[in-house]
């Protein structure tokens, strides 16, 4: 160790210089000793010893890279493993080292570079600003606890999590809590009471979460916690009861859990994953904890993949319209068909509507897709008319979001008129479940379409949301019995619900279609009960255009013309 190292006085910041050239050491000492306490080390090993000894007081290290025995790289590498030394900033002094050297230093945690020859003022300013940066951030560490909840503030929490993940190999879980209805509840209870609730929640969670390390307040009503990894399905039961009984149950709290966090991911990403898992269970009353596990992650990636490809897919006509025939219950003849959409994804292959429709309903893309399907159906009908097939009416689905399109009815009518097709070739399928908020708007559009000659089919009838008032409000022409009614009847061999639905339709002068009909027994029962049309695998699966047209031909040859006119 250098004999010249002074006793450290408290008012000046202490600076450790690690440099093998005596000349350079002395120049630096001369330049900096007015402003700093200087510790000198003539090689890396001595530097490491001095740093360990004075780690509490050293504010910054100036480090040369090329030294015998222990190089600057070795020094930085060793420093990362020394407790209490990791956060001491290092400025690397270079005589224009290569870019590779500089990158390696940065990777090993260096904060900055100073090149030789030293520009005294520039050097002093850099040293001061780096020391300041560290001290302000460690000051933040001391004071930045959220006053209301006692949790760390967001930045401090993320910083601490990052430190823990980088310096240890242990397994951790991350949990986010979110009060789903916080805004509404704070309006109802007022600020004081909701603040009190937030504090109680934070404290209960700090106590109730097992092996907890620290908690942070990420936003007004979102908290985040880091804990040692717990095995098994502990979270749902523990978190459901964490608040006890004396808290207002009207605050709905959901949790997102990221088990076994990936140490390589930034904490911000981890909290995003947790909140993403919360979003996934927001609408589900029975679920308290959403888990962001491997499977969920894959699912998220798949969703991202699908969303990335949807616009391109529409442009490249990867969405294919399939037609599922509807047959007369009493005569063996096709009377209509429903247009259904499938996606032939260039990379993921065939994707069913059960996967992408809910996704597109969430992200709003469904409106573009629905309009695309309308146009495809128009083309198909026009094509059939042109080649001389006797086409049957096709029903096309509308989604709830479609009704937000201004002048939807006018747009559909204009589109159909552009292809010069009679309106009676189209049925519009709507579902009662979409009549949750803007029934008037939906009813108005349905009326316009109905008055213009389109038939309105009410899909999913009997699936659980039935408000009978909608039947007249929406100008329903055809009632479509939900698959569940048919399955239920098949299992229980009890068709009474189906019977009442058909009677209801008859009394309101509506026709009925049963979908999901798979076997002869169901078809026979429906015939007896007076159902008008049957759709399902019993007759045919949904067919692509190239199979649908031959299907039409086959029935055309066996039937007289104008058959559907007689029916509708």
């Amino acid at each position: 160790m250098q004999a010249s190292n002074p006793v450290i006085s408290s008012e000046k910041k202490t600076l450790l210089i690690v440099e093998d050239s005596k000349m350079n050491r002395e120049i630096l000492k001369e330049l900096l000793s007015d402003d700093f306490n200087i510790l000198l080390a003539h090689n890396g090993l001595v530097g490491l010893d001095l740093m360990e000894e004075h780690k509490k007081s050293i504010s910054i290290v100036l480090l040369d890279i090329f030294m015998p025995e222990c190089t600057g790289f070795d020094f930085l590498e060793r420093k990362q493993t020394m407790r209490g030394c990791q956060t001491i900033p290092v400025i690397v002094m270079t005589a224009s080292n290569t870019v590779e050297d500089e990158i390696r230093c940065l990777e090993l945690g260096a904060s900055d570079f100073i090149s030789k020859p030293y520009n005294t003022e520039v050097m002093k300013n850099r040293i001061r600003s780096i020391i300041n940066l560290r001290e302000t951030s460690s000051m933040l560490n001391r004071i930045e606890k959220d006053r209301l909840t006692g949790l760390y503030s967001k930045e401090v929490f993320l910083h601490k999590v990052s430190n823990i993940l980088q310096t240890t190999q242990d397994s951790y879980d991350l949990i986010c809590s979110d009060i789903v209805n916080f805004r509404r509840m704070s309006e109802r209870y007022g600020e004081n009471k909701s603040d009190l609730f937030l504090r109680n929640l934070a404290q209960s969670l700090m106590k109730g979460i097992p092996d907890i390390l620290l908690g942070g307040r990420i936003s007004t009503d979102i908290f985040c916690f880091l804990l040692r990894h717990q095995d098994g399905d502990w979270a749902e039961a523990t978190l459901k009861n964490v608040l006890g009984k004396d808290h207002p149950a009207s605050f709905i709290i959901k949790y997102g859990l990221v088990p076994n966090v990936d140490h390589a991911l930034p904490p911000k990403t981890l909290t995003n994953h947790a909140t993403c898992a919360i979003k996934n269970i927001k609408g589900r009353f029975d679920a308290t904890v959403g888990i962001y596990d491997e499977e969920f992650h894959k699912e998220q990636q798949r969703i991202a993949y699908i969303e990335e490809g949807m616009l391109e897919g529409l442009k490249n006509r990867e969405f294919k319209v399939y037609y599922q025939p509807k047959h007369s219950a009493t005569e063996d003849v096709i009377v209509a068909a429903e247009a259904l959409v499938r996606w032939q994804h260039p990379k993921l292959g065939f994707i069913g509507p059960n996967i992408f429709i809910p996704l597109f309903e969430r992200n709003g893309f469904i409106t573009q897709l629905d309009l695309y399907v309308w146009e495809e159906v128009c083309r198909e009908i026009r094509h059939c008319i042109e080649v001389g097939f006797s086409i049957v009416p096709i029903s096309v689905n509308l989604s709830r979001l479609d009704f937000d399109i201004p002048n939807l009815a006018e747009k559909i009518i204009a589109l159909v008129d552009k292809y010069e097709i009679d309106h009676s070739f189209f049925h519009v399928e709507v579902t009662e479940s979409m009549c949750t908020d803007n029934v008037e708007q939906i009813a108005e559009t349905c009326k316009k379409l109905h008055d213009a000659g389109f038939l309105i089919e009410l899909d999913d009838f009997g699936s659980g949301f039935t408000a009978l008032s909608y039947l007249s409000q929406l100008n329903v022409d055809i009632l479509k019995l939900d698959v569940s009614l048919m399955q239920n009847a098949k299992e229980t061999r009890n068709y009474s619900l189906v019977r009442y639905a058909i009677l209801l339709a008859e009394s309101m002068k509506m026709k009925t279609v049963a979908e999901g009909v798979e076997v002869e027994e169901q078809a026979a029962a429906l015939r007896v009960l007076g159902c008008d049309y049957i759709q399902g695998y019993y007759y045919s699966k949904p067919l692509p255009q190239e199979e649908f047209e031959p299907y039409l031909l086959e029935y055309e040859s066996s039937k007289g013309e104008d058959y559907f006119n007689r029916i509708f």
């Binding site: 093998d20 050239s21 005596k22 000349m23 350079n24 002395e26 120049i27 001369e30 330049l31 040369d64 090329f66 030294m67 015998p68 002094m93 005589a95 224009s96 290569t98 030789k116 020859p117 030293y118 520009n119 005294t120």
Partner: protein, 123 residues
Amino acid sequence: MTIQELYDAIEGNYAGIKRVLPSDALIQNFILKFLEDTTVERLAKARDDQDASELFEAAHALKGICANLGLDALSRLASVVADEYRPQKPRTMSDEAIGAYLDEFEEKYRKTVDTIAKFKASL
């Protein structure tokens, strides 16, 4: 002889050293210490031993020292040597060619030191 005149005599960069060391007194202090610096002996020994890594380290150290003292020409020559012997980099020059740079460095170094020594004697 003033410090500035000394720098002119040794082909030093006076404006450059002024940025490092703000006063002539300080510059004088350190330029005299250059006489005691032994790094150049390390370089000579490494050259005799044909020790590439030692050649790099000594040349690299001289590059920094000379740069800090505003001895730009010497620093540039040392830089050429350091780059030639940089670890994990293939050599690009013949032994004769790099030998010529080393000769030039040593000669210039000798002249510089002689001039500084005369300056010291005149004080």
